[in-house]
């Protein structure tokens, strides 16, 4: 069972590296944010897998909750930030 969780964790890491391509090469800023959000969701699952590997799930659950929360706030905040910045930018040009 340990080997299985290790394999799943490594596969998740690989998928995160693939998502990182979208963060680095995304044509628009929102593509990059989307890539970041996707990586954050995978990290929540990965943290719990690490907890299972260390036989200490009770501790890693708290970290995973905090991470899921901050991922949500970061996405919401950056979406709103770029919306705000962009609308100021549009008003200047009109």
């Amino acid at each position: 069972m340990e080997q299985f969780f290790l394999a799943i964790g490594i596969a998740l890491m690989l998928l995160m590296f693939l998502s990182l391509y979208r963060v680095l090469a995304g044509p628009t800023i929102l593509d990059r944010m989307l890539g970041g959000n996707v990586i954050g969701t995978k990290t929540t699952a990965l943290l719990l897998l690490i907890g299972l590997l260390y036989d200490n799930v009770g501790m890693f659950v708290d970290i995973a909750i905090a991470y899921a929360m901050l991922n949500f706030i970061a996405t919401l905040g950056s979406a709103k930030y770029f919306l705000h910045r962009k609308s100021i930018h549009l008003e200047d040009h009109q």
């Binding site: 069972m1 299985f4 799943i8 596969a11 998740l12 998928l15 693939l18 998502s19 391509y21 979208r22 044509p27 628009t28 929102l30 593509d31 944010m33 989307l34 890539g35 959000n37 996707v38 969701t41 995978k42 929540t44 699952a45 719990l48 897998l49 299972l52 799930v57 009770g58 659950v61 995973a64 909750i65 899921a68 929360m69 949500f72 996405t75 919401l76 979406a79 709103k80 770029f82 919306l83 962009k86 609308s87």
Partner: protein
């Protein structure tokens, strides 16, 4: 033993949908279609993996492990509410900023 098999099936299904979501955000042609892949596949995959881990955690039954499993289900519920909301926020921002959607008429000769 049955719990282990159930959790292996759930986690493998979750990993499959994670892979599909990642492939989706790499292959789709524009931002709005990428949001589809990320918003749907990722939230379902995260919920499946988390439920799988919660089921595996019930292997040695005691009060502490049951509570930890319920906490993991709380994370799943949180992801279930927050993931569509984040998707909605990004899509809304994209439409208001004016990111051009990919359409079939424009791109097929």
């Amino acid at each position: 033993m049955i719990l282990n098999i159930v959790s292996i099936v759930l986690i493998c299904a979750g990993l499959f949908f994670f892979a599909v979501g990642t492939l989706g955000i790499l292959r789709f042609p524009d931002f709005y279609t990428r949001v589809q892949a990320a918003g749907k596949c990722d939230s379902l995959a995260a919920v499946l993996v988390l439920v799988g881990i919660a089921v595996y955690n019930l292997g040695d039954l005691s009060l502490a492990t049951v509570l930890v499993s319920i906490k993991i289900l709380f994370i799943a519920a949180f992801v279930f509410i927050s993931s569509p909301t984040a998707t909605h926020a990004i899509t809304d921002a994209a439409l208001l900023i004016g990111v051009k959607p990919w359409t079939k008429e424009k791109n097929t000769p």
